[in-house]
């Protein structure tokens, strides 16, 4: 049994990320897969961020979007949402997280910070600014998904037209499933539009696009 609990591990996370890992923290990480996963994820983000700094490359917009989505998925940039009620320990931990993200180039973090700021705004603001923030969320989602959607639709047209139809049953399954994914995207878009800050809906929307891209890639591979 580990000598420290999850809260104590969280308090040591700052030191952990700096490589100062106490025996208690290591024992806890061995036993608790949630804390271990979180520490691993943060380590991966920090490593990726450092490589971006080293390469001094500016990633394209979709990388920022993916990063933001990933951060949201991991629950890392929802932190401002709970800051209203946070304890001093959590505030300290949050400060540490912000310090690690300091290693990420500013352009790459812009989306993430925008999301965090909007989230804080929602907590603190009244109905008028909520509408403004909802609009920003919708706009942000559309800005990131519209080019992707247009590109995928274009690829879909060329791929489906050139896919060898030697087996009508297989072709029918492909068409049916492409329609399922398209419908899935439509419903997710509607859901994001209705509840712009719903992270689960946004997560599903991004995944629906990813699924469509995967399906088209698979078809292209088989069509070659």
């Amino acid at each position: 049994m580990a000598a420290i609990d999850c809260k104590q591990f969280l308090n040591q996370l700052d030191a952990w990320m700096d490589g100062q890992r106490t025996a208690d923290a290591q024992a806890h990480a061995r036993d608790c897969n949630v804390c271990r996963s979180m520490a691993d994820d943060l380590g991966s983000i920090t490593t990726a961020a450092r490589s971006l700094v080293t390469e001094a490359l500016e990633p394209p917009a979709h990388v920022w979007t993916s990063l933001r989505a990933q951060l949201e998925r991991e629950g890392l940039i929802r932190e401002p949402l709970v800051r209203v009620n946070e304890t001093p320990e959590r505030a300290a931990a949050a400060g540490s997280w912000r310090r690690w993200f300091g290693a990420i180039p500013r352009p790459a973090l812009a989306g993430a910070y925008l999301a965090a700021l909007v989230a804080v705004g929602v907590v603190l603001s009244g109905p008028i600014s909520k509408r403004v923030n909802d609009y920003r969320w919708i706009q942000g989602t559309q800005d990131s998904t519209s080019p992707l959607s247009a590109h995928l639709n274009s690829v879909e047209q060329t791929t489906m037209a050139s896919f060898p139809s030697s087996n009508p049953a297989v072709t029918a399954v492909l068409h049916k499933n492409m329609a399922i994914v398209d419908n899935y995207i439509t419903l997710c878009e509607k859901s994001v539009h209705d509840e712009p800050q719903n992270e689960v809906a946004r997560d599903y929307l991004y995944e629906a696009y990813q699924q469509k891209a995967d399906l088209l890639a698979q078809l292209n591979e088989r069509g070659d």
Binding site: K7, D31, N33, A169, V173, I180, V200, Q211, Q218
Partner: protein, 291 residues
């Protein structure tokens, strides 16, 4: 009706049937059974590419890969070759514009237990038993059925279903409309995601195991025993979450329920032994006791 009219009808029928039998005979004659043997060392890699037909793979104790192919017509041929410790099996179409059934090829393949498999099958069925090496299976419409598998299992279907009996190792399965049944699973890592299919998980929750089941619509059913131990998080954005497990509040302060849809989070028995994450968009999540 008089006999006068009946007799010619019989002959007419016979006139239709006889050429039919002859054609059947020609088709049968063109179906071909081939058998190939390949001597291999430990942990061979076996790849199988088959557009249409059944692929059945079974482990045996010999250091040999046996391929028995039944080709549906003369329009396809078996292309099987060995490169070092790798055996590649492929159905090759040799004429254009043939009927789908003429492209059919069925395979019965025996491999050493520690083989690594890479299988691509558009339609038909894939069945693998007792193979313990890594496995990568991709299908469009074909169903996939694994038994007593282990290793790193990566399964992707477009519309085919997936069933896994007594599987261990690391399981990752993705589909668009296929349903999954993971029965008597002994895996420490399960990630299953389908858009419109159902997901059934009934297996062990191993210490520090991670079980993530996700769909868009359909039913996710998680079955547990009274002695199991896991942290669970379940969210259905537009659907329902039904729970029979008596949960205690979560052990991790940063675990929280989503404020959207129906959600629950908590620990079942001694917390932290396994982590279960169930997510659906508008499907139903059932956490139920195993019989």
């Amino acid at each position: 009706m008089s006999m006068h009219h009946a007799v010619p009808r019989i002959w007419k029928s016979a006139g239709l049937l006889v050429p039919g039998f002859l054609l059947f005979g020609v088709a049968s004659a063109s179906a071909q059974r081939l058998e190939k043997h390949f001597k291999v060392e430990a942990s061979p890699v076996v790849t199988i590419h088959n557009p249409n037909g059944a692929i059945t793979v079974k482990a045996w104790t010999k250091s040999e890969v046996l391929v028995i192919a039944t080709l549906g017509s003369g329009h396809v041929e078996l292309d099987a070759e060995q490169n070092g410790n790798r055996v590649d099996v492929m159905t090759r179409q040799i004429t254009d514009s043939v009927a789908p059934d003429d492209l059919r090829a069925d395979y019965q393949i025996n491999v050493p237990q520690d083989s690594e498999l890479q299988i691509h099958n558009d339609s038909g069925a894939v069945s693998v038993a007792n193979v313990l090496g890594n496995m990568d299976v991709e299908t469009i419409a074909a169903d996939v059925d694994l038994q007593d598998a282990a290793g790193y299992l990566t399964i992707a279907t477009v519309g085919g279903s997936f069933q896994c009996m007594r599987c261990a190792g690391h399981i990752e399965v993705n589909s668009i409309s296929g349903s999954f049944r993971l029965m008597d699973t002994r895996s420490k890592h399960v990630r299953a995601q389908t858009s419109t299919g159902n997901i059934l998980f009934s297996g062990d929750f191993l210490p520090n195991g991670e079980y993530r089941l996700k769909n868009y619509s359909g039913v996710i059913e998680l079955r547990f025993l009274p002695g199991d131990s896991f942290d669970v998080s379940a969210t259905s954005l537009k659907g329902k979450v039904n729970n029979q497990a008596k949960l205690t509040p979560p052990n991790h302060s940063y675990q929280s329920t989503s404020k959207y849809g129906q959600a629950l989070v908590g620990s079942f028995n001694t917390a932290g032994h396994a982590h279960v994450d169930l997510t659906s968009f508008d499907g139903t999540i059932n956490i139920v006791k195993r019989d």
